[in-house]
Symmetry: C2
DNA sequence: GCTTTACGCTGTACCGGTTAAGTACGGGCG
DNA sequence: CGCCCGTACTTAACCGGTACAGCGTAAAGC
């Protein structure tokens, strides 16, 4: 490997016949440089193909211009993770790119990798850390924030955090409630739900939304709990049907579970939506393609990523107007299943 | 933001009553340090919570311990991208993590971002660059390699590259050929294909595999071209059926297109696999769940990621045994559709 | 005409590590 | 006993930038 010598400031300075400091000012776009000199420097930069060395720059500025995004390396990978995280990454990446910051991706989950993340952030390798974790009880975000490192989370933290961390979340409760109201407005009266895991904010809040809407209507609730996977949705739907063969609608707390539920309903000879209406949550691409296409609550995942990134950029710039919490709206997407 | 002062080598040295150099040697695990001193230093490190500053280290070692992964930011996002890249990322990430290297993610595609990537790599911010691009005609990998920067590509480059770049690919041709032979062995004789875009290696090679197997059997080929999307698969299947209503099998060059084809076949009243056998390529999760479950050629995407990363690690270590090309095996996964 | 002020550039001290060269010291050997 | 040598540490010179103090020059002020 020939790693061609990269030209340094010094080299550019010599060639342009000025001092290192002047070249630095030109490169960093200072205004107080005479036009003639600026042009000469720029020409030298051009000719030598000079690119500033980031390590040297970081050393003195104490900034790296890069931001870490931590993904939980869920030991048992859930299929929906493969739909969720890419969208988050895309959103984050768009926003960071616009700000000319770099994105460093890290997996965390094991306590070993926890340490890794902490040490990494402490080593000053990044200017801030974003958590795409959906498990809100993680102590790491708070720990880093306590150390003065800018942190943003996706999803409201579950523990009321002694050290509060800015977060962005979506309006689970409002979205679910309006979905359930949609079912009620269509005349459904035996509305069940397949809830998500109750140790995640997303699972909890979506169940709350369901309860809210049912309370309003004075109807009895009917809950089965799944773990967001398709298989668990299938099982949960079977249980619901066994408990109440007459149910006429079900709100399912994730699209993957909803697809499992559709399968169970088909197996049980129920027609969707004629016999049973189904509404999911997520609005993944596949939900447009299922049979029938799934009515679902869309959460703006790419926007979550963008928003996280924007908050992060605000934090690293030490702006004071960074909101401690942003809750993005959800939207009911009506298709054939309800 | 209180950015608590991070302790430096100097601080640790003072506390341990030794010189900076000695602390450095302890931290980097040099053997020529007396046990007593080593322990004293380690204790001081512990007490102060010392973490070496990466920028300072990089400045002198000329290594950053991080590797970039470039994803093409396909302007018109294809759904399958959302299945492919996460798997690549996962593979890469596993391997890099094991080697204690960081992963920097960058999107590229626009020529502006091209520049960005080039400057970024040149700035010495990463030790090497991996391209997860599937469009093999990109000049950037070659350009970086020429500058002496370690580069690895996923997918055989299309242009025979004046400056060769190590790559990892899968055995498209062999996998497709065995899929088609599977169809022939089941007695199918009018075997069509829905090919991928002919400006991508994956599209070209998979078509070649189909042709190879059909040539062997002395059968006529029947080709429609899609662009790897579900919709294009649906359209292509319609064309194939219109051209030859008697066809009894089709190899489809991607799972997404295969799902479109299944739809078109259903619309046309054909039963799968009774009337028409269908085989896809990719083995995405959804293919297990389709109706009928899709027989498909699996490509080991996570392994591709791992392999890329391993090659990259070899390159940055300047090992001489880094293979210029690795071709991973594909595997026919037989389900109900063929 | 001489001082004051502003401007624009240079010199240089850092940033926090690594590492080659230098030094102190104890032990083996002639 | 003096010499040499290896071991284990310290000293100091970088790495490649940034930023601040300082200085020369020219325009403005009186």
């Amino acid at each position: 490997m020939v790693t061609r010598e990269r030209p340094t400031l010094e080299a550019v300075a010599r060639r342009a016949g000025v001092s290192r400091a002047t070249v630095s000012r030109v490169v960093n776009g200072s205004t107080t440089v005479a036009v003639a000199i600026r042009d000469a420097v720029n020409q030298a930069v051009e000719e030598l193909g000079y690119v500033p060395n980031q390590a040297a720059r970081s050393l003195v500025t104490q900034r790296t211009e890069s931001i870490a995004l931590i993904l939980p390396e869920t030991a048992s990978r859930v299929f929906s993770d493969d739909m969720f995280f890419p969208a988050i990454i895309r959103g984050v990446s768009m926003e960071l790119e616009a700000a000319d910051k770099q994105l460093v991706l890290m997996m965390a989950g094991s306590s070993a990798s926890h340490d890794r993340v902490e040490r990494y952030a402490m080593a000053g390798h990044v200017d801030g850390v974003m958590f795409a974790s959906m498990h809100g009880a993680d102590p790491l975000p708070g720990a880093l924030a306590r150390l003065g490192i800018p942190v943003v989370c996706s999803g409201r933290p579950m523990t009321p955090a002694e050290f509060p961390v800015p977060y962005v979340d979506v309006d689970h409760i409002g979205g679910v409630a309006s979905a359930v109201r949609h079912l009620l407005a269509a005349g459904r009266r035996r509305v069940a739900t397949i809830a998500g895991p109750q140790d995640m904010v997303a699972g909890i809040d979506r169940l709350t939304g369901y309860r809210t809407a049912l309370d309003e209507a004075g109807l009895a609730e009917h809950v089965a709990v799944g773990d967001f996977t398709r298989e668990s949705g299938l099982q949960a739907m079977r249980r619901l049907l066994a408990d109440d063969p007459e149910l006429d609608a079900v709100f399912v707390a994730s699209d993957m579970m909803a697809h499992g539920a559709l399968q169970a309903l088909k197996d049980a000879g129920r027609r969707v939506p004629e016999d049973v209406s189904v509404i999911g949550f997520d609005d993944f691409e596949i939900s447009r393609l299922s049979d029938p296409p799934l009515t679902t609550v869309r959460q703006p995942i790419v926007d979550m990523g963008r928003t996280m990134a924007r908050q992060m950029l605000g934090l690293v710039d030490e702006r004071t107007d960074v909101p401690p919490a942003v809750v993005l709206p959800t939207e009911l997407v009506v298709r054939a299943s309800a």
